[in-house]
Symmetry: C2
């Protein structure tokens, strides 16, 4: 065994942080306490009751009766891969809306699956045009239509219903990325006609990262069962996952016990508050943020009509860009314990992404950031 | 939003369990306390220091200097998929040793990737014959040779060095499943010439399930970078993962923060004890188990020379088989809080799998099981 030149293990203190980036958000002490519960086996009836509770809670948040609604045992990016890999076979067409980095990622994932990808683009900071999506869908007659509900790289809310209608009309399967919207906006997968959706736990659910809540419509499950070729991923095969997350409860892989405890508790907190009340709280926190930071020269990137409540992209004041925005973010982290997110892709260096998500969707969090910025940007 | 017919969320108590199945094993209170630490962002220097500590600890346990040694953000089964998907392209040959359910799973995963799979089988409860593997390798000249170090479905330890030598000689890439061996047996990936290995956290590491420790040799990384086609999985692409788990620390997906805290603490515990001492503890616990249960009619399935220390497959006494072994397992769980594992595949109904892993690798755990069985099987 190699032992040379490896530093000794030491216990490290975790510094306190106010997490105002694009996720993770801070989690409730109740969720931390749930994480620390002793383990159960993954086939123990006591654990399966918790899995069932999680599945029921996710159905309420997704707005669906889909039986195959489950926490995938990986992060949100794996949820994206799961939804696309189950519905697409090599050579299938996919029309994908690209309004930022996460729409971009969908194209990359679908291409690796072997799909013929048609991109429909929007300028960064703007929403997809439903007409352009509808035109591409009518022209390509794709197997799958996919886009991001709440684009985390720009803070834009996409028009679900109009695009969904075009997808339904063409017979395509609709995949919706709900990573940043689940738990912060009311979702209605069934009413919209979404066939497969996925999310992450570390944003508006205020649960640690590590699971991807996902939901597959009966039509999507039938598609998976009727494929000509097996799903390329054994781990993410919805047909196999249905064995454990359905009535039979047969072993597929070992479920991540502690993370599922945490998600169960996070969902209880969301449902105790109520989705509408929670969405309203996100809206008022975002309002406080935009109004508070505007006098310092931070301007929202996105027009109000399509601006997300839980994640706000802010154009940086010229003096911050000139001095290097990364240095200011580092000072916020080191001197004030506040994390905010930088820009991704083309927007790197010119915007920040400030998340007021879940537990942090409170004007008080916006005010803490404002106070820290006033100290760091005097005058 | 659908709200009808969904039961209300209720707080549930977690019943105490002694987890003597094939994993999860019980975890130390120190690991539970680590899980409950407040969150950090996945790009926070304070978190990256913990990631680095985990990577260093895993290198020591795997017995490797491989730079790309990391906790994959999913369970052990995804680790299997990651190792095979990174090294195999469609049409590549793979020689896979099948001595139980997990070797079987490797074949299924490799076939879905598009590999031409050659199976080399061993009877359940016996080890692979190195000569048969060597002959298949010489005949097929495969891209990848893969097998399971510690076959969790039968409790058999496979002969790594002889098979590894044949793989090396042929130029194939060697993939080793270390799910059940990591933390319970000394591993020596570099000395053996293993190119890619994966494990799980919930067995001999005594950490909750949810991560897959994995390691890729420089030769494996070069193979990934030199592929003609991209890795089919974006999420598990070792070339992309090297961005976050290498020197650059660039965002790929959001790391599962809390689980990485838990793994860091679990690794500290292993390294404080020392791998050799820990392996010895597993051996003496297994000895106590076999000696204790033999008088009740439980006989080891596997010959002593190739029997695993951390997981023992036991042939059941005739009276237990006749009365239905599942009923006895249920009584152990409900009346004594003890979980043991049933048989998988062909061995279902005729064996149990008893894991004395990590925290539970103590004669006292074997004695608790023995006492419960004496009560349930009088006479």
């Amino acid at each position: 065994m190699t032992t040379s030149a490896i530093p000794p293990m030491t216990t490290r203190a975790i510094p306190p942080r106010l997490l105002l980036g694009p996720g993770p958000s801070n989690v409730s002490p109740r969720v931390l306490a749930a994480l620390a519960q002793p383990l159960l086996g993954h086939l123990d009836p006591a654990f399966l009751a918790i899995v069932e509770e999680v599945q029921a809670g996710l159905r309420r948040l997704f707005g669906t009766a889909n039986e195959l609604t489950l926490p995938l045992s990986a992060t949100g990016s794996a949820g994206m891969e799961a939804c696309l890999a189950n519905l697409l076979e090599r050579g299938d067409g996919a029309v994908i809306g690209v309004a930022g980095v996460f729409g971009e990622r969908m194209c990359e994932v679908a291409a690796r699956i072997g799909a013929r990808v048609t991109r429909v683009e929007a300028e960064p900071g703007t929403a997809l045009e439903a007409e352009s999506m509808a035109a591409a869908i009518a022209r390509e007659r794709p197997r799958v239509v996919a886009f991001v509900h709440a684009e985390t790289s720009t803070g834009v809310l996409q028009p679900v219903e109009a695009i969904a209608a075009a997808a339904r009309e063409s017979g395509a399967y609709l995949v919706l990325d709900c990573v940043t919207s689940l738990g912060g906006l009311p979702l209605a997968l069934d009413a919209w006609g979404v066939d497969a959706a996925y999310s992450g736990t570390q944003k508006c659910l205020s649960c640690p990262p590590g699971l991807s809540p996902a939901s597959f419509s009966p039509r999507a499950v039938a598609r998976v069962r009727g494929r000509a070729t097996p799903v390329q991923s054994w781990y993410l095969d919805a047909g196999l996952l249905a064995g454990y997350f359905g009535r039979e409860r047969v072993y597929h892989h070992t479920a991540p016990i502690s993370m599922i405890y945490a998600l169960a508790e996070a969902l209880r907190i969301v449902l105790e508050e109520g989705i509408e009340a929670r969405a309203a709280r996100h809206r008022s926190a975002a309002k406080a943020l935009v109004e508070g930071l505007r006098p310092l020269g931070f301007e929202p990137l996105v027009a109000e009509a399509v601006r997300l409540p839980m994640l706000t992209a802010l154009r940086l004041p010229e003096r911050v860009v000139a001095a290097g925005e990364a240095a200011l973010r580092r000072r916020l982290l080191e001197r004030h314990g506040i994390e905010v997110g930088g820009g991704l892709g083309k927007l790197a260096g010119s915007i920040w992404r400030v998340g007021l998500m879940g537990e942090n969707a409170r004007p008080a969090c916006a005010l803490r950031l404002l106070a820290a910025l006033r100290e760091e940007l005097p005058g």
